[in-house]
Each structure stands twice: as C-alpha cells, then as structure tokens.
C-alpha cells in the first residue's frame, strides 16, 4: 500500500471535492499497480500533454476534461501539447478537407478552448518536440515530470536526464492537477538501470530511425545502454547529436516502448555513471549493417499498388529541429542540382513547431527551401494520415514512427532525397 502524506490523504478523502478525489484515486491506483510506495512532487516548470486533437471519437476524453474544468481542477503548471492535426498549407483535396474539418477534427476548436482553460503555455505551444530551445519547455536534469508523448518522454529522460514515466494521455494532466506523481519505474535510480547492452558494429553511421526501430522491437519497454554510437555522434550533445537522438528515441518508443536509453560517452547519466548503469545479467544485442537491413526489409508495405508513384512525402515526425531544417535545405538543393531539377518532383512537407519555423524564417535558408518547392507546416503528419482517404495515398517518409502508425512507406534519408529530387528518373 502507498503511504500518503496528510495533504494527499485529505485530497483522496474528498477534502477538496469529489473530482479531485477521483484524480488522486486514479494516480494512487496507477502507482500501486507498479508497487509505488509514495507520491513525489512534480518539479518541472511545464508539463507536456499528448492529446492535441479534437477528434470526434474522443468524446469521453472531452467529457472528462469538462468535469475537471467545472470542478476547478485545472493544471497547476502551464503545459505544451502535441501538434495540431490540420494545416491549410498541407496539400489536401476537397474531400480530404471535408473529412478533416467536418467529420474527424470537428471538435478541434472546442478542445483547444478546453486546453486554454486547463493551462496551455501559449497559443502556439503545439508540438511533439516541446523540448527544443525555441519552444522553451526544457526540463532540467533530475526534475520530475508528468509528461506524456512517447517521443518527448524518451528525449527528456535520455538526453536531458529528467525523470518521467511513460505516462498515458489523461494521466499526464492528472499529475499536474494534484501536483504529485507516483514514485516508480523511470523516476527511481533502480528503474533507470539498463537491462540490455546494445553494441553498434556498423561500418557506416546507422540511420537514426532505423537503429531506434531495431532496438525498440528488441528490448520493448526495457532500458538499453548503447555502446559504439559515440563513434558516429561524438561525445558532446551538440545540435546534430540532439537531432539524431530525437529521431532515434522516437523510433525506440514507437516501434517498441522504450522510455529511456543511455548512450555511452554521450547522454548525461552515461557520462556520469558509465557502466554502473548496466544491471547484472543484462541481455546483449549486436547490431551491424546486415541486421539493420534485415529489420528494414521486414517492414510490411501497406500500399495497394507497391509500385505506385509517391504522391506525398512527409519529413518531421517528430517535428524537425532548426538544425535539421537547415541541413535538409542544403541536401535538397544539392540533390536537385545533381538531378538537373529546379523543384522537388514529389509534393514534400517538412513539419516543425511554429516557434522553430519562426526562427527558420529569420534565416536565409527559408527562402532557399521555398524555392525548392518544399512546404513547411506545423501539422502532425500522423494525424493527417489517419483517415481512409489519406490512408490509401502512397506517402513516403523517413520517420519510423509515422510508418508504424500509418500506411506510409519508410525509406532512409538518402533514399528519400533521391525520391524527392530525382523521382523515377
């Protein structure tokens, strides 16, 4: 049984009303399921929520949010939230627009109003990559979070050294409504120990989202300690390394259920504690180029016509960093020059948060990218793809998260570049 403080017990007993008592009961049951013996305060400045979309099917969620609002049980922290599902910049035909706005996301405005009442950071705080400096929801090492969004949780734990469990949507806001979360799993030192050792033995830099996919599928929810990646990423968390780890982590979390990884000589806890982080009798998984090829070749192709010409390319799931937008501008330009083309040959959308896009617009790269024909958007590609019309479209991506949840087809970054700049030539 969990030991509660007098204040926590009083909330559970209804001293602050029935709704708050139910919130506390939910958190206590959640903790007890995982053997938590106490609740600990949430110490980050901001929360991050996963539910950003006004999907008609999520009626029960909005009813629950209404109960919280009516009872005054709103978040004690401001929060960011995952990306919006619709953006008029992204190509969509009349029927798709009708389905998006009138059927699927007809509750979007209503839900955004709920988010405002509950504690949204600011009107453009919609992104899965909330931890980027431009967005400003950057927790410090050791802080306790009540976040959801699998790719953000794994980044906060691994790259920033914050402490957060893989909370579900709804559970995320409940933690910041009462200000406490149950102490178990990735909040504890023991829960942050690696039970898998991964040895990277590739001859070339492994593709971030392919490597993450291979590891996620192998270790599922366990914590991996990765040797050999510092050879390719270096030993400092510079912008390029952080962008790589953002994409790598998203793939471990969506293709498996990883909430924390350690990269030898690179991520903060691995630098501080090294192999002390590896649990006794840890399993070992060796990854070479052949293993990555095997994993990639096993992805099912969900297109009806496997030889169809791609109609759309999405990059940026999770949302791209400023560094990635700049790097990809250079790459697309070089690719087009080599192919003798002026503009991309497949409609291509790069997705990033509004704050990152605003900073990008201030650089000379923005105009150059525009000239290549690439569109930028703050949309969530996953939400865009989740309907029967888009589901039938041959869409390509180098996001292993997008591949997992939709019918989009995965290609490596290099392959994507060829596809969008040269096409079938």
């Amino acid at each position: 049984m969990m030991k509660l403080t007098d204040e926590q017990q009083a909330i559970l007993d209804g001293a602050q009303g029935e709704v708050l008592a139910k919130v506390m009961k939910t958190l206590v049951m959640y903790g007890e399921t995982f053997g938590a013996e106490k609740m600990v305060p949430v110490t980050s400045k901001y929360n991050h929520l996963v539910t950003s979309f006004g999907l008609k099917m999520l009626g029960p969620v909005y009813e629950l949010m209404d109960k919280l609002i009516e009872a005054g049980a709103v978040s004690q922290q401001k929060f960011s939230v995952d990306p919006r599902p619709v953006d008029k910049n992204v190509p969509a035909n009349f029927l798709q627009n009708l389905i998006f706005n009138k059927i699927m996301y007809s509750k979007q405005d209503f839900y955004e109003e709920q988010l405002n009442k509950l504690g949204l950071m600011e009107k453009d705080a919609f992104t899965c990559a909330c931890y980027l400096d431009e967005v400003g929801n950057v927790p410090k090492k050791g802080e306790v979070l009540s976040w959801a969004e699998s790719s953000a949780v794994v980044y906060a734990n691994s790259v920033l050294g914050a402490r957060c469990n893989r909370n579900s949507g709804i559970m995320d806001i409940m933690g910041s409504v009462v200000g406490y979360v149950p102490y178990f799993g990735l909040l504890t030192d023991e829960g942050r120990k690696a039970t898998w050792v991964i040895r990277i033995e590739t001859e070339k830099k492994p593709e971030a989202q392919l490597l993450g996919s291979a590891i996620g599928m192998k270790v599922m929810e366990d914590v991996p300690y990765v040797f050999g990646l510092d050879k390719w990423l270096g030993t400092e968390l510079d912008e390029a390394a952080c962008s790589y780890l953002k994409d790598f982590g998203a793939a471990t979390a969506s293709n498996g259920a990883v909430g924390l990884y350690h990269i030898d000589n690179l991520t903060p806890e691995a630098k501080e504690l090294g192999e002390e982080l590896i649990a006794q009798d840890a399993n070992v998984y060796v990854i070479d180029d052949a293993e990555l090829e095997r994993v990639k070749n096993n992805y099912p192709i969900m297109w009806k016509d496997k030889d169809a010409k791609p109609k759309l390319c999405f990059m940026g799931c999770p949302h791209m960093s400023l560094e990635q937008l700049k790097t990809w501008t250079d790459r697309v330009e070089a690719g087009l020059k080599e192919a003798g083309n002026n503009k991309v040959v497949i409609p291509t959308v790069f997705t990033a948060s509004k704050p990152v896009l605003r900073e990008f617009e201030k650089t000379e790269y923005a105009e150059r990218l525009k000239k290549t024909g690439v569109i930028t958007s703050y949309i969530c590609p996953l939400m865009y793809m989740n309907n029967p019309l888009c589901g039938k479209m041959p869409v390509i991506t180098s996001s292993n998260k997008l591949r997992t949840y939709t019918t989009s087809r995965y290609y490596t970054d290099d392959e994507i570049l060829v596809q969008i700049t040269k096409g079938g030539k």
Partner: protein, 147 residues
Amino acid sequence: MREFKGRIVTPGTVTAEAVVSHGGFNTLASLQKALQFGDKTVTVGDQNNPDLYGKSILGKALCLPQTIGSTTGGLVLYCACSMERIPACMLFANHIDSLAAAGAILADVWLDNVTMPVVDCLGDEFLEYVKDGMQITIKEDGVVVVE
C-alpha cells in the same frame, strides 16, 4: 486444460474465446480504425502485428505480453471502454505496462457500468500455451483457466 495464476489489476469474472498476440499490442495502431470510423467489429489495424492484424477482438479474451507504442494508448483504451468496443478481458503474460494500466484504471474510476477484467503477471508459459479459439475463464481470485 491448464490454470494460470495472475494478479488482478481490475476485477471481474468472464468466459470468452482467446485471441493471442505474441508481440506487443500497439493500442493506437490497433484500435484507431475501430474507434474513428465506426468499425463495430473492432478489427485490429496494426500492420506490424501479424498475429492480430485484420482480426476482430470484440468480446474476445485478448492474451498479450504487454501493450506498446504511443502514449495516447491509455486514453484510446479509455475511449474504447466508454464506447464498449473492447475485448471481454485483457490477459497479460508480463507485468502490465503503464499505458494499458492507465486505460484500465481510468475506465474503472471514471466510467460507470463498464467492466473489462484485467489480469497480469501470467507468465511466458501462459502465452506459449494459449492459442486462438481456446476458451478462457477468469475466476474471482485471478486464476485464469484455459481449455
């Protein structure tokens, strides 16, 4: 016939036909089609799950190691419970994961008249033994009978 002793996460007794996933059950990828587009048979849409892809899990005893994938998993499961588009029960070989636990607990605390018994910690042997179509009975004490 074999019996397996597990831990009760949310209580209840039920008898249903088994449907088995040997890999992790990706809640969002599996259920989004059923919830979003009115598929009342709750056909699993997760392309990465060869055991379940294209099969209905409505009213079945869903046997699985754990759930995986997006952290919307818990609220998706909560909505599925609210809409009664759910398996008859969920039986986990492993310790239940945080997302499935959230969904089951949210339904238990916040929804009236919805029962989906959940038992975890049934062990690897459970998942090796149970096959699609077998009959599953959950008893009050968390014992799961497979026959």
